[in-house]
Every structure is written in structure tokens, then in C-alpha cells.
Amino acid sequence: MNRGVVPGGSVLAMAIISLTGVVALLGRFPGLAGVDLTVEAGEVVLIHGPNGAGKSTLLRVCAGLLRIESGHGQVLGHDVRSERPAIRRSVGLLGHDTALYEDLTVTENLRFWARASRVEEAQVPTALDRLGVPSRIHDVAVRHLSAGQRRRTALAAVVVRRPRLWLLDEPHAGLDAGGRDLVDALVKDASSAGATVMLASHELDRTVDLATRHLAVAGGMVVGDHGPEVDHAR
């Protein structure tokens, strides 16, 4: 099975994401109204913009979850129109909702996830440990977890997969101070290991230093794209 490795191509030399004129619909509403974007390997891209700007929609398109209406592009070397299953298999997405089965325990959820992603199940305790999920709740159904604990579990599911592209939608939301620091550390680790990170966030104070590039999104389009220096100057 194709696990997202580009045959014969150097991963570092190519763009991880390249989108041209991408329009994506949410029902009949244009969530993205024509996005052009290229992201190179190893970048940490901060996406910011007002509510309803299209940040989450952009992340969902990059994850291969949304059919695009027009435009074209590639993510991790797979076509965003015709090869969405391959994209979905390769990325790590943390969405608004946590993508966990409510009636399964933390461990069961992650085991299912690991098995589906073709990852050793032995990685599960390590990932949970990394996210500071205490072992006393490993066997508790997700239904009974607090919002912060769910969030950490969902992040652990991303970590288990060791993706080359991390797509984090408001990763700091609902987390305590310790959890927020943990997210920062995860992003730094992923980036230094050569992975690419896109994160949508309103917490500019916290994420400004993490990011190597800032993307302003409004009206379903990219309206500003620059390095971290501008915001530092401000």
C-alpha cells in the first residue's frame, strides 16, 4: 500500500503543499475563494485571521478531507483532487472536534488509530506519556474525559502517527498552561525533526515565536504572507 512516500523523489527538495486557485465549498458557501499557497518542507506556518476567514477550511483541504470545487494542487506529492485518500493517510490533523470514539477508552481509541495507521501499538503508551495523559485515565471512556484531557488524547493520536505534515487547528484551545507549553514543545520537536507544521491560532503572542512564516487569511483567501520579522518589529 502506498503510504505517502514519493517514489524516487527527494522529500526535502519539493514543496510539501502547493495550491493554486483553490476554491472549496462548505455546502453552498465558498469557504476558500481562491487560495494560492506553497509551503516548503520544515516550515512552521502560522495561519491567523478573523473567525470565518477560512483557516479551518484551509487545514481541511490540506488534510484531504474536503473536495475542492476548482483550482489544483498537491499535498505531500499527492493530487488534492484525485488522491485525497493518500493525503489523509499521511497527515496528522488536530481539528476542532477531537475525532475520537466517545464510548471507547483512551487506550482503545489510540490502539485503533495506530493499527489503522500501520504504526506499532507499542507507540501508544509513549505518545500518551509525551502528552502528559495520566495512566489512571487510560482506561476511561472518552465520554467521561474533560475537554483538556480529550484535547491531549487527540494530540497523542497525531503524535502516534509521526506525520510529515502536522495540521493543527487551534491547538492551544482548552488546554491549561502546562498543556500549552507542551504543544509548543511538540511543534518545535516536529519541526526540528524535519516535519512541516501548519497551525491556525488566535494566540499570536504565544505562536509568533514558534512560526517561521505568518499567513494572514481573510475572506477565504491568503491576504498576507511574510516571515516572522515583521511581527517582531511591530
Binding site: A63, L65, L66, R67, R84, P85, R88, R89, V91, L93, G95, H96, D97, T98, A99, L100, Y101, E102, D103, L104, E108, F112, W113, R115, A116, S117, A141
Partner: protein
């Protein structure tokens, strides 16, 4: 592939087991329907005996609607549908796994129902082999068609009402065939039970085939 199927089926069965809905609500519901049919037919033994196969399979169809409804809601709640997509399991494996889980639940209900018709309706079984095979084959067929339609209505807001509108007409031939096969197995009417079993198998194969092909298309239609 087989491991993926097992993972999906195991997950669904575990969720179902944990919620105890099958054990504590669906099985009592099925038994209740049997008892109520008894009242409706005025506890008339000959009529009940004649009607037993039909009542049995009518009840199974009602339960199928419930089971498929629950199986679908597992994947529609919160971000679970997204989890299934992102996990990257082959759609065929998801389809087979979910259908197997539904089939197992239905078989559990059918075991109770067979006990029920023996006790309440005084049914006598002539041909156990035909009875068991009919149950297995019909259940597989019903589960396959149900799982496909469950995925089909998953994105529809009024799915609780749309599902039976689609499911029950599709299952009409199963009702006819399984009832006739039971007629033979219970010895209530002399018919060619094994020929009916063949028709059931044909239905199962056709609908499983379409399900396996169409399930991925439906999952992709986010």
C-alpha cells in the same frame, strides 16, 4: 485487510457491548414485538403457527433498522467520521467490518427470537440445518444492504426517517425468501426451502457487491 476488517468490527462490537443497548433494549424490544403479535392474532395457535416465519422475519427487519441506525451513529457523532477517513482504512474493509458487526448483533437477537417462537408460538423445528443456514445467510444479506444504506443516509439530517423508507423495500425479497425458507424449516408449509436459501444468497452477493463498490464513493463524498 483482514486485520482492518477485524479492527473495525471489533471497535463497533465493543462500543455496542459497552452501551449494552442490544442486550438491555433491543432484545427486550424484539421479544415484546413477538408477544404483541401474539395478542394481535388473538393467541390463535393454528394462525400463529402458520404466521410464525413471517412474524419472526418482520421482527428481524425492525431490529435491523435499529441496529443499522446505531451502527451509523457511531461514525456520525462528533469527529468520528473524520477519524475513520483520516485513519486511511480501505473503504471495503470498513464496509465489511461494519456489516459483520451488525450481523453479529442481529444473530444474537435471532437466537433469542428462535427461543421466543418455540415458547410463545409453540413452533417445532423440522430442519435445524436449514433454519441455521437461513438465519446466517439472510442476516449477512440484511447487514450488507443495511450498512450500505446506513452510510448513504449518514449525511442526511432526517436520517432516522429516511433509512426505513429506503431499507424496508430493499429488504422485501429477503422477507419473502427467508419467510418461505422458515416455512420449510418449521414444517408449517411444504415449500422448497433450499431453493429460497439460494435466492437469499443471490440477494446477499448482489447487495454486498454493490455495497463494497459504493461504500468508498459515499465516504469520499464529504
Amino acid at each position: 485487510m483482514l486485520a482492518d476488517i477485524a479492527a473495525v468490527a471489533g471497535k463497533d462490537l465493543r462500543i455496542e457491548w459497552r452501551s449494552r443497548v442490544t442486550a438491555s433494549q433491543v432484545i427486550p424490544f424484539a421479544a415484546l414485538v413477538l408477544v404483541l403479535f401474539g395478542f394481535a392474532l388473538d393467541a390463535n395457535r393454528p394462525v400463529l403457527e402458520r404466521a410464525t416465519p413471517g412474524l419472526f422475519w418482520m421482527t428481524v427487519l425492525f431490529v435491523t433498522n435499529l441496529a443499522v441506525q446505531r451502527s451509523t451513529s457511531i461514525e456520525t457523532s462528533d469527529g468520528a467520521r473524520r477519524a475513520l477517513l483520516l485513519a486511511g482504512i480501505e473503504p471495503v474493509a470498513v464496509f465489511v467490518g461494519k456489516a459483520l458487526a451488525v450481523a453479529v448483533e442481529l444473530l444474537a437477537v435471532e437466537i433469542v427470537l428462535v427461543g421466543g417462537v418455540l415458547v410463545f408460538y409453540g413452533a417445532e423445528i423440522d430442519d435445524w440445518g436449514l433454519l441455521v443456514l437461513t438465519c446466517v445467510v439472510a442476516t449477512m444479506a440484511v447487514a450488507a444492504a443495511g450498512t450500505l444504506l446506513g452510510a448513504l443516509v449518514a449525511g442526511i439530517r432526517a436520517r432516522e426517517t429516511v433509512l426505513p423508507i429506503l431499507l424496508l423495500p430493499v429488504l422485501a425479497p429477503v422477507l419473502i425468501s427467508a419467510t418461505r425458507a422458515f416455512d420449510d424449516a418449521l414444517g408449517s408449509v411444504a415449500v422448497q426451502g433450499w431453493a429460497w436459501l439460494g435466492l437469499l444468497a443471490g440477494f446477499g452477493v448482489l447487495n454486498s457487491g454493490l455495497g463494497a463498490l459504493a461504500y468508498g464513493v459515499l465516504l469520499e463524498e464529504t
